[in-house]
């Protein structure tokens, strides 16, 4: 086939008819410099405002400014939205916007047959084609026959638009940089979305650069108008995706990083503590440092950009010792550096929260790609017997809930709590029913109350927590340290029996927390059956969709999603025993599955994936079918 570049002069003769669909997956792909992340997040905003449920997946290269036109410089933003509950960013694309040949070649395989491909034909020039690895121009070949292709000279269209705007002083380069807004305008039209939120956002973003704001808005509106007024190829439809039936309430979009930061702030408030967030820049955890540093409006939050990961965790320990809530955040390699410090917090029984936004590893690994391979590290990764609490968030909104819970457990039990998120959850967003902080039950922490007959390692009979007496407290003078200490008095002790007692106490204190966290529920399905698919963290979406699909087919399987990684929920072993088989999909080489096998001596099976990308629903469905007596 020879693809005709759409002639902009072809005026629409018939009114737009919109085809109603339940859900759609759209991916914007372009150079790092093409503004795909902004385009995607603006489309997300418009989609959320239109009332759809949605899940996004931003994916960008580790290089800040990768060379133009290269395949490794391609940045993408994917969104799955619909009128039904959306649980994943989607396996197959319905619409792919490719701004250059590199974006096309790296993303085309995800486009479903008959999917809509929008390309900027002006970028399909020799140099770009060569850089992407094309010998010939794919727009002039038959390879794209199985898709519906809309090849537009977006450069020319954008230039024509902007040149028509009176009185702006801009360079051609600046004009071409608005191509993404033109493409966004067209996709907004395609799904019948409003350009107003983006127009407003552009006005604010470029408040000081009026001309730039003007040309971006012009490009956005021109893209939209192009859809509205031009007779597109006969096989390109406009769509309508009706609003989803979400629970009543006030909603916003939230990313995982925001969820965690706001949850920490809320947790500190409920504990009535000032918070000090100590961190060292690392992808993908830096966002949390930025968000908290920006919360200057009287929240009692102080941020401390430490000289390294070790200083970050130890400053957090020092802050907690001083009577504040010490928090540190990082990603796997940084957590590795913090290990010794975390051991000190365990030994001295000081409350800190450690957030790990996991990424691909080992070593530097895949800094901008997602993985959930730090479960071993979280549960076991310290010298000696060194138990702490490990929680995992399953979605951006859940990050808020789990961050509040992390603060509650840390301060109530005087223990470090590790909260696991990952690159996917941290960066992706979902509509979130905004909670009411005013209605939440406080869990006030005391840092300056000296109990009767005070000794630094005396313990609360129920929680086994020691008292938190910060320096400066009258009548509470004492000393603590990393050397093993005598039970109760806390004086240095090398006594063998005492070390056994203290090791047992540290383990028991954490194990007891299983009685203070919810029993494991069945996320989807019944409490018994042929197969339980057990997940944790960001596999929540794809497992949920796969289980729903298979249950619709009549299979007896359930989805069990674990937030409490350590200690594990007290009923989990009994619950899992009710299923004939247990399958554990994880974005690692099989870590939770090892824990389950060790703890419950069950024949849990692993479904590992470490490609740096989230699971596709079909991958989980296919694996599950084998256990359900089908071969795929």
């Amino acid at each position: 086939m020879n693809i005709q570049i759409q002639d902009p002069a072809a005026e629409r003769k018939t009114p737009v008819e919109r085809q109603s669909i339940e859900a759609a997956v759209v991916r914007f792909a372009g150079d790092s410099g093409d503004g795909m992340q902004l385009t995607g997040s603006q489309f997300t905003l418009a989609t959320a405002v239109a009332g759809n449920d949605l899940v996004t997946f931003p994916d960008f290269p580790a290089e800040i400014r990768a060379p133009v036109g290269t395949t490794f410089g391609v940045s993408t933003f994917q969104i799955n939205f619909g009128s039904r509950e959306i649980r994943t960013a989607g396996d197959r694309l319905d619409v792919l916007v490719a701004m250059n040949p590199a974006a096309l070649i790296t993303n085309l395989e995800d486009l479903r047959p008959d999917g809509l491909l929008i390309v900027d034909a002006s970028a399909f020039q020799d140099r770009n084609l060569k850089k992407a690895g094309y010998e010939t121009n794919p727009l002039e070949e038959d390879d794209l026959d199985r898709y519906r292709v809309l090849a537009l000279d977006i450069s020319k269209l954008t230039q024509a638009t902007v040149k028509a705007v009176d009185g702006v002083q801009v360079t051609n380069k600046e004009i071409l940089r608005t191509k993404n807004m033109w493409a966004l305008g067209l996709v907004l039209w395609l799904f019948g979305r409003d350009v107003a939120p983006t127009r407003q956002w552009l006005g604010v973003k470029f408040a000081k650069l009026e001309d730039i704001a003007t040309i971006n808005i012009a490009a956005l509106e021109a893209g939209f108008a192009f859809g509205e007024t031009t007779e597109l190829a006969h096989n390109v439809h406009a769509y309508e995706v009706p609003p989803a039936k979400l629970d009543a309430g006030e909603y916003r979009n939230v990313t995982g990083a925001e969820g965690i930061c706001w949850g920490l702030a809320t947790g500190a408030h409920l504990a009535d503590l000032p918070m000090i967030y100590c961190s060292y820049p690392i992808t993908p955890a830096s966002n949390m440092l930025h968000i908290l540093a920006g919360m200057t409006g009287g929240f009692g939050i102080e941020t401390f950009q430490a000289e390294d990961e070790i200083a970050a965790v130890t400053a957090a320990i020092g802050a907690s010792y001083g009577g504040a809530l010490g928090v540190t955040g990082s990603s796997g390699p940084g957590i590795a550096l913090k290990t010794e410090g975390i051991g000190l917090a365990v030994a001295t029984e000081l409350p800190i929260v450690i957030v790990n936004a996991q990424r691909g590893g080992p070593s530097t690994g895949l800094p901008t790609k997602t993985e959930q391979s730090d479960l071993y590290q979280a549960v076991f990764g310290r010298n000696a017997d060194c138990p702490l609490v490990v929680l995992a968030a399953r979605s951006p909104g859940d990050c808020f809930t789990m961050a509040v819970e992390a603060v509650r457990l840390a301060t109530k039990y005087m223990t470090p709590v590790m909260l696991l998120s990952d690159g996917y959850i941290a960066n992706s967003s979902e509509p979130w029913s905004i909670p009411e902080v005013a209605g939440m039950t406080p869990f006030t922490a005391q840092t300056n109350v000296v109990p009767d007959n005070f000794a630094p390692y005396m313990r609360d009979a129920d929680t086994l927590a020691r008292p938190w007496v910060a320096p400066g407290t009258p009548g509470g003078i004492h000393r603590i340290g990393g050397i093993e200490r005598s039970e109760t008095t806390g004086n240095v002790s090398y006594d063998p029996a005492n070390h056994q007692t203290m090791t047992d106490l540290r383990a028991r204190k954490i194990a007891n927390i299983a009685h203070d966290v919810p029993e494991q529920d069945v996320t989807r399905g019944d409490g018994a059956g042929d197969l339980a698919i057990v997940g944790w963290g960001s596999t929540y979406g794809p497992i949920g969709r796969a289980v729903t699909n298979l249950r619709d087919e009549g299979h007896k399987l359930a989805h069990i999603h674990i937030n409490n990684i350590w200690p594990l929920p007290r009923n989990l072993g009994a619950l899992l025993a009710n299923y004939a088989a247990v399958l554990v999909p994880e974005m690692n080489n099989g870590q939770l599955v090892t824990l389950l096998r060790a703890e419950y001596m069950i024949d849990a099976r692993s479904l590992p994936k470490v490609s740096g990308k989230p699971f596709n629903v079909s991958e989980i469905e296919d694996a599950a079918r084998e256990f359900l007596g089908e071969t795929s």
Binding site: Y251, F299, E307, P471
Partner: protein
Amino acid sequence: MNVVPELKPDDYATDQEVRWCPGCGDYAILKAMRKVLSDVGADPEQTVFISGIGCAARFPYYMETYGFHTIHGRAAAIATGTKLANPDLDIWLVSGDGDSLSIGGNHLMHLLRRDIDLTYLLFNNEIYGLTKGQASPTSRPGTVTPSSPSGSYDRPAHAVAFALGSGAGFIARSYDVAQPHLVATMKRAREHRGTSFVEILQNCIVYNADIFADVTDKKVAGDAQIHLEHGAPLVFGKDGDKGLIFDVKTLSLKAVALGEGGVAEKDLLVHDETNAVLAGLLGAMDGHALPMALGVIYCAPERPAHRPAHPDRPRGDAMAALLDAHLRKGHTWHVA
């Protein structure tokens, strides 16, 4: 703050048995420390000793104040967190040469440049004591130890130069058995706002005995030491008959004998502790060609603090309202 009853030095002692080797310089420093707190009337409940790992790091167990014996090299970072959490505390950081300049060098550097308001005592004995006598970052080249049987190869790190290079605002030096001098120096350090860095030469009697004897021994002290006093001429010598001048040709300090070649006291350099260039020159003197400088080597003029005090926060309902408003900032929408 509480009204603190008058406390004697011994009132700052804990009931813990002190476990340094008999004859260790640490005993003298401990004694001086208790006297400092007694002299200034320090409130034990507002005083915190934070240490890393090493012989010196046992210090907090022996002070009847708050104390935190942490991990190797990290005391500076921990103390930073504690000070951020409670700026009212009087924090003393006790560390050795390995703790400060090897494993903890990075943290010390950043503590100094941040100028966190606490007093940092570096007990320099030029050896690893607790781990049984290996060469330390301040050991002189050729130091024979179990880890350097042919003599250590590396040039030593220099505490004062390191501190100066890291942007420290207060740098002083004293030594363990110089009791009145050590007490006075630590008091000055405590008064200073910002990180006050004090190098204390400390005799490790077991693994590096008398390493500083060529400076501290009474017989040589007069000529091997110069006691700095802000605004006073740089005079030294056991009879006060020597002084320092600045040699413009070599851009360096030079010792001269007073009266010789017509040199009078008015020709000598006058100590200006606010002069960082002079501090560098004085700090580098090692007691051999030139006398070792003791006392306040550098005290920066008032420097602006950029980090604001820990932000105030409303409590209870007011904070909940603030958070609720924050969660609703930006685009929100209602689902009926």
